[in-house]
Amino acid sequence: GAGVSQSPSNKVTEKGKDVELRCDPISGHTALYWYRQSLGQGLEFLIYFQGNSAPDKSGLPSDRFSAERTGGSVSTLTIQRTQQEDSAVYLCASSPKRKGYEQYFGPGTRLTVT
């Protein structure tokens, strides 16, 4: 079946602009995660959603970052007033209920802030 999809695959934006990154998880997966992958920093957890529970936002680096998940499916990660240090690959993953370690990752969105 279809895997996790993300859009856009690449995004170039000017410093100070807002961006929205989209994630479509695997159908039926209850948990959805966002990570950031950058050179020298490895993989960094940002946020996750599980069903109707309050999201775990503990990894969001600043209040410029926010995410929502509508209808328990699609998620959008929004970065306001982008900075050059936000440049990275943003990965989305989803997992089935009770197997949160088995995360299925999307291809990522490469964000470049100029």
């Binding site: 990570y35 020298g40 490895g42 957890f45 069903g51 775990d56 993953a93």
Partner: protein, 114 residues
Amino acid sequence: AQRVTQPEKLLSVFKGAPVELKCNYSYSGSPELFWYVQYSRQRLQLLLRHISRESIKGFTADLNKGETSFHLKKPFAQEEDSAMYYCAPQLPVFIIQGAQKLVFGQGTRLTINP
């Protein structure tokens, strides 16, 4: 603070040679341990889970509680093993209703030379 360390950013070995990718963690308690892999132009994916005690693609991972290490090993490297490898030790406290916040190491890029 929870920390996972992969001391080698780059590792290069010859085909047929043994390979060991190091991972050390600094958690109290008994973490569950995972290795994730990202092959060139592919998505990040789960390679193996310690608790399952299985060998995946010839790789095994040994938990050493005394040294708090979870090194990934393969006795005879193959060219197709070239990839980025991430260690992800997890504590049960990070599991909320099945969702699981993965804390990744910075990764080791493994290159197998012919």
